[in-house]
C-alpha cells in the first residue's frame, strides 16, 4: 500500500536529474537533493529484493510440490523394485493393483478395495452434493431476497470453516446410532451411505459458495434478455444461466471433489475401515445388493493410510505399499485438477 506513493516523486525527480548526472558526480561538494536520490535508490533495491523474495516463495511452492511427489514416488517404488532401504521382499504391480485381497500379515497387498472405496464414497457424495450445491447457488444468487442472500452467504462461509473432525464426531455419535436404529434393526450403519452423507454435507458449502459466485458474475443482460424474450424464470435459469456458468460450476464441483477425495478424519470415523469389504459383500446374502453395498463397513485410500502408516516399519513391503497408495492418491487429485482446467478452458474458447 505504502510503496506506490513515493514512487511518484521518484520518477518525476529522476527525469530532470538524469541528464546532469555526470556533472553531479564531478562536483560532489555542491548541495543537491541527495536524500531524495538515496531514498529512491534504496527503494529500487527494496523493490528488487521484494521481487526476489516473491520469486523465491513461488519457487519454494513448486519445489515443495515436486519434492513431495519425488518423496512419495521414491518410497512407493520400493514396493515394486529392490531399492536401498528395503528390508523386505518386493511385490509385482499385478499383486497390488489387480488384487482385492488386503492381508499384509499374510503377504497379500491388493489395494483394489481402497481404490474402489475412495471412488465409491466420493462418487456418492458428489451425486448428492453437486446438484444440491448448484441449485442452492442459483437460489442464493438469483432468487433469494437480498437479506436472505446475505445470511446464506455468511452461513456457507461458516460451514466451509468447520473442521472435518467435528463432522466425524457428529456422524459417529449421532448419525450412526440413529441410522442403525431406524433402518437396520440395530445393525451397525458404518459404511458408504453414512460416510458419503457426511462428506456431502462437508462439500456442499464449497460448491454453494463457488457456484453462487459463478452465477453472480454472469452479466445481468443474459437473465434480462432471456426474460425479455418471454422465457419463464425456470427456463431462464435452466436454459441460459446454468449453461453459461457451466465452466465455473464444473470448477466448483471439482474443488468439492478434491476436498472429498482427500478427506481422512471424518470418513475414518464412520466408514468402518474394513479392508476386506469386497470379500464381505460377496459372502453376505441377507440383504439386497444395494443395501448391502451401502451398509458394508468399507475402507478408502485415506482411511487406510491414516490408520496404518504410523505403525508400520519403514522399509517393509507394507510401508512401501502404503506410500504407493499415497502416490496414487496424489496422482488422482492432480489428474482431476488438470482435467477440469482443460475442460474449463475448452468451454471458454
Amino acid at each position: 500500500m505504502a510503496e506506490p506513493m513515493p514512487d511518484l516523486p521518484e520518477t518525476t525527480l529522476d527525469a530532470p536529474l538524469l541528464p546532469d548526472g555526470l556533472a553531479r558526480i564531478a562536483t560532489q561538494g555542491t548541495p543537491c537533493p541527495t536524500p531524495v536520490f538515496r531514498q529512491s535508490h534504496l527503494h529500487r533495491l527494496a523493490d528488487r529484493w521484494t521481487h526476489l523474495l516473491f520469486l523465491a516463495c513461488t519457487l519454494l511452492v513448486v519445489l515443495l510440490i515436486g519434492g513431495i511427489l519425488y518423496f512419495l514416488a521414491a518410497r512407493g517404488a520400493g514396493a515394486f523394485f529392490p531399492l536401498a532401504g528395503n528390508t523386505d521382499k518386493v511385490v509385482t504391480f499385478r499383486e497390488v493393483f489387480l488384487s482385492t485381497n488386503w492381508d499384509p500379515g499374510d503377504g497379500h497387498f491388493g489395494i483394489v478395495p481402497f481404490i474402489a472405496g475412495t471412488l465409491a464414497v466420493t462418487g456418492l457424495a458428489l451425486l448428492v452434493a453437486a446438484p444440491t450445491g448448484v441449485l442452492t447457488g442459483v437460489f442464493i444468487a438469483k432468487v433469494a431476497p437480498p437479506w436472505m442472500r446475505n445470511v446464506m452467504r455468511q452461513v456457507m462461509d461458516l460451514l466451509v470453516g468447520i473442521p472435518s473432525v467435528v463432522y466425524g464426531i457428529f456422524g459417529l455419535t449421532i448419525i450412526l446410532p440413529m441410522v442403525g436404529h431406524a433402518w437396520l434393526a440395530d445393525a451397525p450403519a458404518a459404511g458408504f451411505a453414512v460416510s458419503a452423507a457426511i462428506l456431502a454435507v462437508m462439500i456442499v458449502p464449497t460448491v454453494v459458495s463457488l457456484s453462487t459466485d459463478a452465477f453472480e458474475s454472469l452479466p445481468s443482460s443474459l437473465d434480462e434478455g432471456s426474460q425479455a424474450l418471454g422465457s419463464t424464470r425456470w427456463q431462464a435459469i435452466w436454459r441460459v444461466l446454468i449453461p453459461a456458468a457451466r465452466p465455473r460450476l464444473l470448477t466448483a464441483t471439482v474443488l468439492g471433489l478434491g476436498r472429498a477425495i482427500g478427506e481422512a478424519m471424518a470418513v475414518q470415523m464412520v466408514i468402518g475401515n474394513n479392508p476386506q469389504w469386497m470379500l464381505l459383500m460377496r459372502q453376505a446374502t441377507d440383504q439386497t445388493p444395494v443395501l448391502r453395498f451401502l451398509f458394508t463397513p468399507a475402507a478408502t485410500l485415506t482411511t487406510e493410510l491414516v490408520q496404518e502408516l504410523p505403525n508400520t516399519a519403514s522399509g517393509s513391503t507394507w510401508n512401501n505399499v502404503l506410500f504407493a497408495m499415497g502416490l496414487l492418491l496424489y496422482l488422482m487429485t492432480m489428474l482431476l485438477i488438470l482435467a477440469t482446467r482443460r475442460l474449463g478452458r475448452q468451454e471458454h474458447a
Binding site: G67, N274, V306, Q307
Partner: protein
C-alpha cells in the same frame, strides 16, 4: 534417495545436538507416552542438568528410531521384530498394560470363557444369545492390522488364529469406546483405564472367570496383559547419555514409582508378573 539422506541427516543432527547437553530423547508409543512423560518430569526435578524429551509417533516409529540411533529410548507396546532384535537393541519391560474385553451394556453378558471369547472373534459365534445374552447380533470392533493392541488380542484371546473378516475397525481407543457405547451388540478390546473413563456406557467383560483389576492380574488369574517396552541401543548411543538413560529406566522400575504413578496411570507394576512366574 537424496531427500532421504537429507532427512536422516536432519534427524541425526537433532539427535546429536542435544546429546552434548545430556539430553535423553524418548520416542514411540502414544499409549505409554503420558506415563514416561510423567516419569521424566519427576526424574528431572531430582536430577538437575538432565533433559528428557518425550515425543510420540507410534510404537513402530519408536523401534525404528532406536534402531537407527535417532532416539535414545524407543518405547513400544509390542516386542521388536526379529530383524530389529538382531541390531543389538536391548529390551526393558517397564510396566504391565492390562487389557480387557468390553461390550455394549445391553448385551446381557458379563463374563466369557476363553473358548467363547475366541469363537466370537474368529466368527464362529455371531449372536449374544449363543453365550447366554440377549438376542443381539455381535458387532466386532477391532484395531487396524498394524496395531499393538490387535496383536495382543490375537496372541492372548485368539491364540494366534485369524480374525473374522466381518468386523469394524477403529484406531484410537477413545473412538473405540464411543463406538462400543453407541453400537448395540458391540464387543471390543481396550486398555483397562478406558473402562473407568466410560463407566456405565461400556461394560468390562470378565475373562476366564477373572475380572481385569489389580487382584486379577496380581494373582495371575487374569491373563489378557502385555508389557510396555523400552528399548535402548548401546551400540549407537553416547556412553554418558546411555548411562543417564539407564538410570532413568531404573527410576521408572523403582518400587516407589511403580507403586504410585504407574498404578494411578492405569498400568500395573511389572513385578506382578515376576511374582506370577515365581508361582508357576
Amino acid at each position: 534417495m537424496k531427500i532421504r539422506s537429507l532427512v536422516l541427516a536432519a534427524v541425526a543432527a537433532f539427535a546429536l545436538t542435544p546429546a552434548f547437553a545430556q539430553t535423553v530423547t524418548v520416542m514411540g508409543s502414544t499409549a505409554l507416552g503420558p506415563l514416561v512423560k510423567q516419569a521424566a518430569d519427576d526424574y528431572m526435578k531430582s536430577h538437575p542438568g538432565v533433559q528428557i524429551a518425550v515425543s510420540g509417533g507410534g510404537s513402530m516409529t519408536g523401534l525404528n528410531q532406536v534402531v537407527s540411533g535417532g532416539c535414545t529410548i524407543g518405547i513400544s507396546d509390542v516386542f521388536a521384530t526379529p530383524a530389529q532384535d538382531k541390531t543389538g537393541i536391548v529390551n526393558h519391560n517397564l510396566v504391565i498394560e492390562p487389557f480387557t474385553l468390553i461390550a455394549n451394556p445391553h448385551v446381557g453378558v458379563s463374563s466369557l470363557t476363553p473358548q467363547q471369547a475366541e469363537d466370537i472373534w474368529t466368527g464362529k459365534i455371531t449372536n449374544w444369545n449363543q453365550v447366554g445374552g440377549t438376542n443381539v447380533r455381535i458387532v466386532r470392533i477391532n484395531r487396524p492390522t498394524s496395531s499393538g493392541t490387535r496383536a495382543v488380542l490375537q496372541n492372548t484371546v485368539l491364540h494366534g488364529k485369524p480374525f473374522s473378516d466381518n468386523q469394524l475397525i477403529q484406531d484410537a481407543s477413545g473412538t473405540v469406546a464411543k463406538m462400543v457405547a453407541s453400537t448395540p451388540g458391540a464387543i471390543s478390546f481396550i486398555e483397562l483405564e478406558f473402562v473407568n473413563l466410560y463407566k456405565g456406557r461400556i461394560r468390562g467383560i470378565a475373562y476366564n472367570g477373572a475380572v481385569c483389576d489389580k487382584q486379577g492380574v496380581g494373582s495371575g488369574k487374569y491373563t489378557l496383559i502385555s508389557f510396555g517396552h523400552a528399548y535402548l541401543n548401546p551400540g549407537k548411543t553416547n556412553p554418558q547419555v546411555l548411562k543417564v538413560a539407564q538410570d532413568f529406566l531404573n527410576f521408572i522400575l523403582s518400587p516407589q514409582f511403580q507403586g504410585t504413578t504407574v498404578l494411578k496411570a492405569g498400568y500395573m507394576p511389572v513385578s506382578y508378573v515376576k511374582q506370577l512366574k515365581a508361582r508357576l
